[in-house]
């Protein structure tokens, strides 16, 4: 309605600027600012250094998973198995680690390494299966990842009979769960390293560019000589691998291997991406915004904890935020169409 040439009034120009910011960044800046103001007013403890460090550490798992989820979303799909990928990583990693240390009580370092590797491979395997199903057999990502989620969960439960796995070396938890280097929690450091690798991959390698291309226009990608099936496969493998890494960190934090963790992560990670402006149609999204999206969700959960909103109600809020973000995304598309000159 407000055409660019309408009037040079500052209010109109400001509205237009806002629209441009909205189109480029999505709803995230608005949400972040709102959340910070609301929670600062609700609780005196919110805007303290200790609490914000807490938020950063709590958000690491979701941030890592969301970065993986972003790859699947970029190619025009999604991964509903990320939660159960974490479960199977946790269970297998913990079992191998505790089994190894039971046989070789003196080599806890080796036990940790072997256990982490086993867990990582198990989780990545879920991604490999997803990739094969989606890229080779053209199964819709919805059905494929829903199926592997059920399979992983079933295996994790069968292996543990539903009980937590104990007996891992203490160092595992104290280093990867609670360790602090230069005042920064270890999981946060891992997340920062992964973020840098992901940034490099998405912005400076062919693979990253091809993920955007495949989601942006699959047929055009084929005609441009891209091996679309391979890169589609890789998106799910990397998504699985990132979820597996998050699973290892979470296991270290909990100091037990559990089949019942990560249930909310598929929704939360997709929410983080969509709130961060990743298009559900694929081909569009920025890594930085996805990380902010994940931190935003962590912030909201933390703020609600401080404000003593019970956890069941928190689920309601997260669900509502997700739907709101999708509606805002649609609106953004429309504003974008109108702004095309």
């Amino acid at each position: 309605m407000t055409s660019a040439a309408a009037s040079p009034s500052s209010a109109g120009a400001f509205a237009l600027r806002l629209q441009h910011v909205f189109v480029r960044m999505g709803v995230l800046p608005v949400l972040l600012v709102t959340a910070i103001i609301v929670f600062t007013l609700l609780s005196d403890n919110f805007l303290t250094e200790q609490n914000l460090t807490n938020v950063a550490r709590q958000s690491t798992f979701l941030t890592i998973v969301a970065m993986g989820q972003m790859l699947a979303l970029l190619t025009g799909g999604f991964d509903l198995a990320v939660g159960k990928t974490i479960a199977i990583t946790s269970v297998i990693g913990a079992m191998v680690m505790s089994g190894y240390i039971a046989d070789n009580p003196d080599s806890s370092g080796l036990a940790i390494a072997v256990g982490m590797l086993a867990g990582f491979c198990a989780g990545t395997m879920v991604g490999v299966v997803n990739g094969i199903g989606v890229a080779i057999f053209n199964v819709s990502p919805f059905m494929m990842t829903l199926g592997t989620a059920s399979i992983s969960f079933g295996i994790a439960l069968t292996l543990t009979s539903g009980t937590p796995v104990y007996g891992m070396p203490d160092e595992f938890g104290s280093i990867f769960g609670f360790g602090v280097v230069l005042g920064i929690p270890a999981p946060v450091i891992v997340t920062i390293v992964l973020f840098l690798i992901m940034y490099l991959m998405l912005s400076w390698t062919r693979m990253g560019r091809y993920f955007y291309a495949i989601g942006g226009n699959y047929k055009a990608s084929i005609l441009s000589g891209i091996r679309t099936r391979f890169y589609l496969f890789m998106a799910y493998v990397l998504c699985g691998a990132l979820a597996a890494l998050a699973g290892i960190l979470l296991t270290a934090r909990l100091e037990t291997g559990e089949a019942n963790i990560g249930a909310s992560l598929p929704l939360d990670s997709i929410a983080a991406c969509v709130i961060g402006g990743v298009s559900l149609r694929g081909g569009v999204g920025r890594l930085g915004s996805v990380v902010l999206g994940a931190i935003f969700i962590g912030l909201v959960q933390n703020g609600m904890d401080l404000a003593q909103i019970q956890s069941y109600l928190q689920e309601v809020v997260i669900g509502a935020l997700l739907i709101f973000a999708v509606i805002a995304d649609q609106l953004r598309q429309r504003v974008l169409l109108r702004l095309r000159d």
Binding site: Y210, A220, S224, G225, R338, D341
Partner: protein, 517 residues
């Protein structure tokens, strides 16, 4: 409604004094986001008249018929139907007035049967339940009356394109017609089916139906047209009697230029054989036993009706259409069913006909689109990583060469006009050392300026020694740009014409089942 009858002479509700006019459109404009599709267009339709709309793709023909059919509402201007001002709110509303359209893009639901499609939105009911038997009989009646050999209970998804076209036409004839809109209805019909359609049109004319008819074919205009309205860039250029104009005049009106200004003179110097296809037969049977070759330094045309397999032949060479049998050679090497990546490496580029569906990442920038096929090469890559500085510089260069408007390579492709989007797609070819260009409908939906630029681009390619295979449904393009033409008819080669043999009559003559006029 009442004004149409006997009270006509004595002044009707409006002062136009033309109660016999079916439709009068005055000062019609339609603004889409970023495009003025129609600009103050006048148009009128008399009962029993076939009024042809003529113009390039993107000239506004489609928008105009969509406004008449109630799909779009005009931004400005008035519509009078039988002398009464009307505002067509929807397709349904237009249909209740007897205005029906047969669009090129079918509005059929593939999973439903023919009869269900014909009555879609106007189902016959009995106390709120579907009256399936009645529906079946009425559908059968319509098909019989139209002379289409179709069974009403067949599912639409199993029909050929021509058969689907028939269903679409049957749908228009469902109601009592006053205005019938036909958008290139013969594009996928055989000559016999075309004749049948013309009889229907004559029949409808006799009953006082007004027909708006879009076609590019002179023979059809001569056969059934009464008047022609030429559109260009959303404006009405002229309305003429169909029998008083010749083709050159029409083309001039359509493009706004004399033909010699549109099509460049090209110096052909055929050299080595670049592409050689032997007994090409696609798995789906769209192309059968077609052998052809393209040499360096020539422009070879591939012509024929829509659905004749010309596009599939090009795609089969590029390895994206499955082959049943036959072999493809590129510069002597067997490249049968090689992957597109390998073809591009070897210097074989295919330009898809549908930019949105197969060509561009609409939500990505010009830079990312142009460089996409060449990311392994310099200057786009260095040490296995992307070289974004080199990328920007090279794409900037190409944007300048193609005169991209606006020249902002970070802008997303969606925000450019059709002509500029096509330039982006063509620029992509210049990021690789390409020897053979297969251009599939390279000027679809672009303005005249871009069209001329594209022809200059093709000329330059050819004169620099590249080979060009021009697959086109645009007859003037085939006639004026190529030095050799293959004509396909229903997937099979019909003729090969060279040099002076390439005349309109000879080319068109091979388009149809028997020799046409």
């Amino acid at each position: 409604m009442n004004a149409a009858g006997g009270a006509a002479q004595l002044g009707s509700p409006d002062d136009s004094g033309e109660p016999n006019l079916l439709l009068r459109i005055a000062g019609l404009s339609k603004q889409f986001p970023g495009v003025l599709a129609l600009d103050a267009v006048d148009f009128e339709l008399q009962p029993g008249e076939v009024h042809v709309l003529f113009g390039e793709n993107g000239a506004g023909k489609s928008t105009l018929i969509q406004v008449i059919a109630g799909v779009h509402q005009p931004t400005k201007g008035t519509l009078r139907f039988r002398g009464m001002p009307v505002v067509l709110e929807s397709v349904h509303h237009a249909r209740t007035l007897g205005i029906s359209a047969v669009f090129q893009e079918f509005s059929l639901v593939p999973t439903l049967s023919i009869e269900e499609n014909i009555f879609l939105g106007a189902e016959l009911t009995n106390h709120g339940f579907l009256n399936k038997r009645d529906l079946h009989h009425r559908a059968q009646d319509i098909l019989t009356r139209l002379g289409f050999p179709l069974r009403p209970e067949q599912r639409v998804q199993f029909l050929s394109r021509a058969q689907q076209q028939m269903v679409e036409i049957a749908k228009a004839f469902r109601t009592d017609l006053s205005i019938l809109i036909l958008d290139e209805p013969t594009a996928s019909l055989t000559e016999r089916e075309t004749e049948r359609l013309f009889t229907l049109v004559e029949d409808a004319k006799g009953r006082g139906v007004g027909i708006v008819y879009i076609t590019h074919r002179m023979s059809e205009i001569r056969r059934i047209g009464d008047r022609i309205t030429v559109l260009r860039d959303g404006k009405k250029v002229a309305t003429l009697g169909a029998r008083e104009v010749d083709e050159d005049r029409l083309l001039e009106l359509m493009t706004g230029r004399v033909i010699s200004q549109v099509f460049p003179r090209i110096d052909y110097r055929p050299g080595e054989i670049l592409l050689k296809a032997e007994h090409l037969t696609t798995a789906r049977g769209d192309v059968r036993n077609f052998s052809f070759e393209v040499r360096a330094g020539e422009i070879v045309g591939l012509a024929g009706l829509v659905g004749c397999g010309k596009s599939e032949a090009g795609r089969a060479c590029f390895g994206i259409e499955k082959l049943g049998s036959g072999r493809v050679f590129f510069r002597g090497d067997d490249v049968t069913e090689a992957a597109p990546g390998e073809m591009l490496e070897r210097g074989f580029f295919y330009l898809p006909p549908d930019r949105r569906a197969e060509g561009l990442l609409m939500m990505s920038s010009v830079r990312e689109n142009v460089s996409l096929a060449a990311l392994r090469r310099r200057p786009f890559a260095r040490f296995g990583f992307l070289n974004r500085v080199g990328e920007r510089a090279r794409v900037q260069e190409l944007a300048k060469e193609f005169n991209l408007q606006p020249r902002n390579i970070e802008r997303i492709v969606e925000h450019f006009s059709g002509g500029n989007q096509q330039k982006v797609l063509l620029a992509k070819a210049l990021t690789l050392p390409i020897r053979l260009f297969v251009l599939d409908e390279p000027t679809v939906g672009v303005d005249v300026g871009t069209r001329v630029a594209i022809y200059e681009f093709i000329k330059a390619l050819c004169e620099k020694g590249a080979g060009v295979l021009l697959i086109s449904s645009d007859l003037p393009e085939i006639l004026h740009l190529t030095n050799r033409v293959y004509i396909l008819y229903r997937g099979q080669p019909r003729a090969e014409l060279t040099g002076a043999q390439i005349t309109q009559d000879r080319v068109l003559g091979h388009f149809f089942e028997r020799k046409a006029a």
